[in-house]
Symmetry: C4
Subunit: 230 residues, 4 copies
Amino acid sequence: MLEQLKAEVLEANLKLYRKGLIVYTWGNASGIDRDKELVIIKPSGVPYEELKAEHLVVVDLDGKLVEGDYSPSSDTPTHLVLYKAFPKACGIAHSHSLYATIWAQAKRAIPPLGTTHADYFHGEIPLTRPLTPEEINRGYEVETGNVIAETFSRLDPEAIPGVLVYSHGPFTWGKSASQAVENMIVLEEVARMAWGTLMLNPDSGPMAAELLDKHFFRKHGADSYYGQKK
Amino acid sequence: MLEQLKAEVLEANLKLYRKGLIVYTWGNASGIDRDKELVIIKPSGVPYEELKAEHLVVVDLDGKLVEGDYSPSSDTPTHLVLYKAFPKACGIAHSHSLYATIWAQAKRAIPPLGTTHADYFHGEIPLTRPLTPEEINRGYEVETGNVIAETFSRLDPEAIPGVLVYSHGPFTWGKSASQAVENMIVLEEVARMAWGTLMLNPDSGPMAAELLDKHFFRKHGADSYYGQKK
Amino acid sequence: MLEQLKAEVLEANLKLYRKGLIVYTWGNASGIDRDKELVIIKPSGVPYEELKAEHLVVVDLDGKLVEGDYSPSSDTPTHLVLYKAFPKACGIAHSHSLYATIWAQAKRAIPPLGTTHADYFHGEIPLTRPLTPEEINRGYEVETGNVIAETFSRLDPEAIPGVLVYSHGPFTWGKSASQAVENMIVLEEVARMAWGTLMLNPDSGPMAAELLDKHFFRKHGADSYYGQKK
Amino acid sequence: MLEQLKAEVLEANLKLYRKGLIVYTWGNASGIDRDKELVIIKPSGVPYEELKAEHLVVVDLDGKLVEGDYSPSSDTPTHLVLYKAFPKACGIAHSHSLYATIWAQAKRAIPPLGTTHADYFHGEIPLTRPLTPEEINRGYEVETGNVIAETFSRLDPEAIPGVLVYSHGPFTWGKSASQAVENMIVLEEVARMAWGTLMLNPDSGPMAAELLDKHFFRKHGADSYYGQKK
């Protein structure tokens, strides 16, 4: 079932790996069919070198297995919370990519320092609050989803399509699994640039608000003019 | 038309990508035929993996489309201002390469710290002033060109063939699209070396003026003796 | 003899090299047959590009040559001490991988700063004390093994499968040569992340104990639920 | 003439390039036939992608062209001074490799911080004094050789087979062009490790003298025991 979505989710997972954002099995990508309310996600702990479409797992939004011979990613409950919290997200990615994880471990949000950031993220990339010991023990993966949703209670997930989970690493999302992965690749690059910038000039403040707006809106929304007309 | 220049501009664009200076579509290279006053530039938002000569766009110095089925790079107005301001430049490149962008985001010019820098840039690689909100909203890409030209009002663009745009990234130029790209590759390497140098020794001042002159003029100008005699 | 173990030890050595953790011949991996009490290890100074199964050396736990035309790695005495001190370890790896060596040279243990660390190491990755001049001159490689064993006198080598040797570099171990190498690859990645984290935020303390436990025990031990059921 | 030496010098030059130590034409390697007192060196400014044995240049120790259709490297006078000053050196290499150049630009010698350094360099890798303006203008490349020789007036070039030239970059040497290049590759790796070490712990002092001796002499000299017996 859902063979086209499976092909896209497989390709999104493999792209994370080929771009060097994944070491061993530390990451995953998923996609949702919003009509059928079914999610396709990577199986847990299967090496990327061997990953094929038939390994992918189909679950419903309650996490019930619908199709597949494998256990789904241990992070599946996090993905499901996010699909419920962000109705326009149709793809989600997670990784332990180097620089995004460094920011998460340093317990700092990534400030918008330049136009590369502004082309994709309309403001700082936020950091979740730490989970409480109770949350960790009660239902770690669900609570990881909840704390991301809480972080976005006053943010627009379409304008800021990614987050850093405290002491952990990044999650990103988008209109498809493929776009979620693109946002992950960009988040890693932006995290690396911001890291190097603050090393060179710790007092380098955020970019001007007008420049942030200009770059974000020349690529996104009704008045965008970047790229080819459709 | 201009098939030879197109081939060169295509190759210059692809070289930026193959050398790892471009992520996604973040950059572009152009070339000008000074006799015909026609500029060939990369189309906006076309993936580098698919870029072919027939995608390139020909515009005149007013930005009027002369040939091509695609919209030109959104940075085309910046290129056009620079071709008018720097009459000897016949190629221009732009990227968000990692270390050059780090310096631009850190809001610092790159001081000449060693002979690698001096072989290509006869002095510090300058940083533009920030654009005003009015400039950003009035004509962002044209004003980006204007602020670069303003930066070079007292500098020689042949002796310093590159610049960092504040909170944005590098532009370089040269006698051809190919040389503009070579200067971009070198600027990135020099930016990386200078970054690492100041991390290790923040008080490392600029190199001696005599050494800067020696290295620049052994490669450039009438008394140069580097390379093979023509 | 022991052809299957040889094949595994060869593959483990080559993986270290292919993953970029080895420059020239700076590293080695070994495996032990616990029933026969025989160790298979890389020969000393043989280039990785040329390494084949027939170059591998078989020694007993006293270091006596049992099979092979080559001298064993000069670090063989260290491996033998560790096989005696850690009865559950059936594979050992050593390298001068960049970031793990940086921590060893900086004379600092690697604190657990995030879930990537916690997935493999249940606590800080320790640093040995420096060897005394007497130890260095008396039997350098044996004493290197002894000081690692001493470091683990109050630590569980299964929960912390790696160590940094003071002013030198990392050793790792596991249930097989292959797992020792996996732990080496992970140690390098964790060392790199921790390095970048402390650069960005020197005051970034260790992760919460509950999060450390959660991630370690979801992958290890009786209640683990990561990966596929066997 | 000297076809075997030419083949070795070509291979040494190409290895520098393939290992990523050379950008464009920023570096060179040479070898000497001590009986004939003839030096083979890379031509100036010829791209590495196109370099072939027939491009190499043969000069005598006075710099007189003996064979070749190309101008020799502009750094040839530096090589010749070093061949005269270091009678046991039969190969020399120069590069602008990233981390070695960073140390040269930061105007700091590289202290021995760990066993990787000690395996190849028996003490700190020194930094030359700056050239005076007079020296730069009088005979820049010859004086670069002289200031290296001066730096080694109280050092053993066999025990420390490399140097950092102030505000410039590294030179290395060895018993052959091939060994000079190996020392260059190691110097770059050691420079990178030392850079990262001092970033993490600026107070990390040099390694213990006994450990430095142990590692250097287990690989070099009469009592060495690393590698295979000849």
